[in-house]
Every structure is written in C-alpha cells, then in structure tokens.
Point group: C2
C-alpha cells in the first residue's frame, strides 16, 4: 500500500492511496463511518457488500457509503490494483 496524497496531512479533504491485492487476497470484511471511493487500475476481483458480491475489472468504480460492511477480493489469475480514496477524517 502506498500513499499518493494526504499521508502527511497536507491535503485538507481527502487522501489517495494505491493498493494491491495478491491473487485471491482480500481486505478485511468491515465497516466504518467514512466512505470509500475506489477505482480499479488493473486486474479482476469482487467487491462484497454484506454477503453480496459484484465482479470488478479494470476501470470499474466503486463507491462504498459510510457504514456499509464490505471487502474487496482479487481474482485468482493475478494481482488487482486499486486507487483508494478516503476522506481525511478516515485516515
């Protein structure tokens, strides 16, 4: 995971990170009070909201509203790379 904008607190509103999941890897299934904006830079995978999964591929965009329990999973064929946006308040 690499911070692109906002690591040092210099950006007042939102932060940008690049995030990679290894093939089959996933993020924790969790919720939080801030929203996510996610852009799929490369690869395939699935985003889960509760028990419901939706496929993801390059150039897809996901918006996770505040409080929604979710996780991201990479497909088996290669890593998945995401651009990850969160508000400064969720850092």
């Amino acid at each position: 995971m690499r911070w692109l904008i906002g690591e040092d607190g210099g950006a007042p509103t939102f932060c940008m990170r690049r995030f990679e999941l290894e093939p089959g890897g996933h993020t924790p299934h969790h919720g939080h009070e801030w929203e996510h904006g996610v852009y799929v830079l490369e690869g395939r995978g699935t985003v889960y909201s509760g028990d419901n999964g939706a496929p993801l591929r390059t150039a897809d965009v996901v918006y996770i509203p505040p409080g929604e329990v979710h996780h991201f999973e990479a497909g088996p064929d290669g890593p998945a790379r995401f651009l990850w946006l969160i508000p400064e308040s969720g850092k």
Copy 2:
C-alpha cells in the same frame, strides 16, 4: 467528462470524475479555493503551476493545493485521460 462518484450529491466528502483532453488540448488556467487530486490514467501531458510546467505520464499523481493557479495540457501524440478528485464543496 464523466462523473463517477458524487454527481447526485450522494457522496459526503469528495467527487470523482473521469476527464479526457484531446491531443494538445488543455484546461483553463485558473485557481480555486478547493484542492484537486489527479491521477493520470493514460497518456502524456504537462501540468502547469503558474508558468512552471512538469511532465505527466500514465500513473503519475498530481496534488494541486487550494488557491494554486494551474492547468493541464495533453501532449501532441494522443489524448490524455485523468481521474479527477475534488471535495464536494468544489462541485
């Protein structure tokens, strides 16, 4: 230009748009009170802050602080595509 997140006001903190500049095209040279976060999805170009230009290429990230006068220009060889982040307050 295509809204990806936030057009309808549903995202509380920030908005995401996809933006394309034709070869040689550029955005207005302007400043505003909100910040930009920009990710170069594809192509080459230049970002100007005042009279100073810096080259851009695929996967580069630009942070424009609030108030900084700037513009983006696509190179001559093809369109440039950007992911454009602004706070909800700048919409």
